[in-house]
C-alpha cells in the first residue's frame, strides 16, 4: 500500500497525511480481520477441549496465513496487469469487463 509515485506533486499536507494513514490503518485492520476469520474457520474445529493451540492447528494457521498473503500478492499483480492492459487499450473502463 505505497503512496502514488509522485510526478513532482506538491508535498501532501498534514490533513492529507492523516487521512492516508487512517485509510491505511483501515485497510490493514480489514485485512487482519479477514485473515483471522478465514484461518479460524479453516483450521480450528468446532469442538475443542483446551485453550492452547496444538501442533496441528499451529501449523495450519501458519500455512493459512502464508497462503492468504500469497493469494493477495498474486491477485494484486493480476489486477495491475489487467489495469495496464485496459489502460493501454484506451480508456479506463473500470472493472466492467470482468
Amino acid at each position: 500500500m505505497s503512496m502514488f509515485g509522485g510526478f513532482g506533486r506538491p508535498q501532501p499536507s498534514s490533513a492529507e497525511k492523516i487521512a492516508a494513514a487512517e485509510a491505511e490503518m483501515d485497510l490493514v485492520t480489514d485485512m487482519f480481520n479477514k485473515l483471522q476469520q478465514a484461518c479460524m474457520k479453516k483450521c480450528i474445529p468446532k469442538e475443542y477441549r483446551e485453550g492452547e493451540l496444538n501442533k496441528g492447528e499451529g501449523v495450519c494457521i501458519d500455512r493459512c496465513a502464508a497462503k492468504f498473503f500469497d493469494v493477495q500478492m498474486k491477485i494484486s499483480e493480476l489486477l495491475q496487469q489487467e489495469a495496464q492492459a485496459k489502460g493501454a487499450g484506451g480508456g479506463g473502463m473500470g472493472f466492467g469487463g470482468m
Binding site: T29, P45, N54, E57
Partner: protein, 172 residues
Amino acid sequence: MNGPLFPPGGGGVDGADAQTMAAVRSMQMLMESCPGKTAVSGVMGFALGGAFGLFMASMQYDTPLATNPNAAAITSLPLRQQLKQGFRDLGSRSFSSAKNFGKVGAIFAGTECCIEGFRAKNDLKNGVMAGCITGGVLAAPAGPQAAALGCAGFAAFSLAIDSYMRRPSETD
C-alpha cells in the same frame, strides 16, 4: 482490543519482565516442538519402564531357588554376595525394560508429532499411523510378518487409548 498493531499483553512491561516472558515462551515452544516432545516422552517412558521392570522382576523371586539350575552356584555364596547378585539381576531386568519403554515412548511421540505437523490436523488418524510405525519399527528385527502384526496391534492400541481420552465428556 485485538488488532494487528496492538501488542498483546498490554503495556507497561519493563526490560526484565519482557526477558523472562521471552524465556518462558521459548521454553514453552521448546516443549511443544517435536524434538522436545520426543525427549520428554522418552524420559517418561524410561522412568515408567524402570518402575514396571522392577516390579515384574521382583515378582520372579517367588519360586524357590532350588528349581533354578544355577542355584548351586548362587546359594554357595555368603548372604551378602547373594543379595548383591539378586540386586544386580533386578537392576539389569529393570534397565532393559526401561530401555524398551523409553524407545516406545520416544518413537511414538516423535512420529505422531511429525505426522501432525505434516497433516496440519489434529485427529485420531495421527495416533493410528504413529502406532503402526512404532509397532512396525519395534518388531522389524523379527521379520515382515511380525512387523505387520506389531503395526496392527500397536495401531489398534493407540486408537483405543486415544478414543477413550477424546470421548465426549459427560458434563457437556
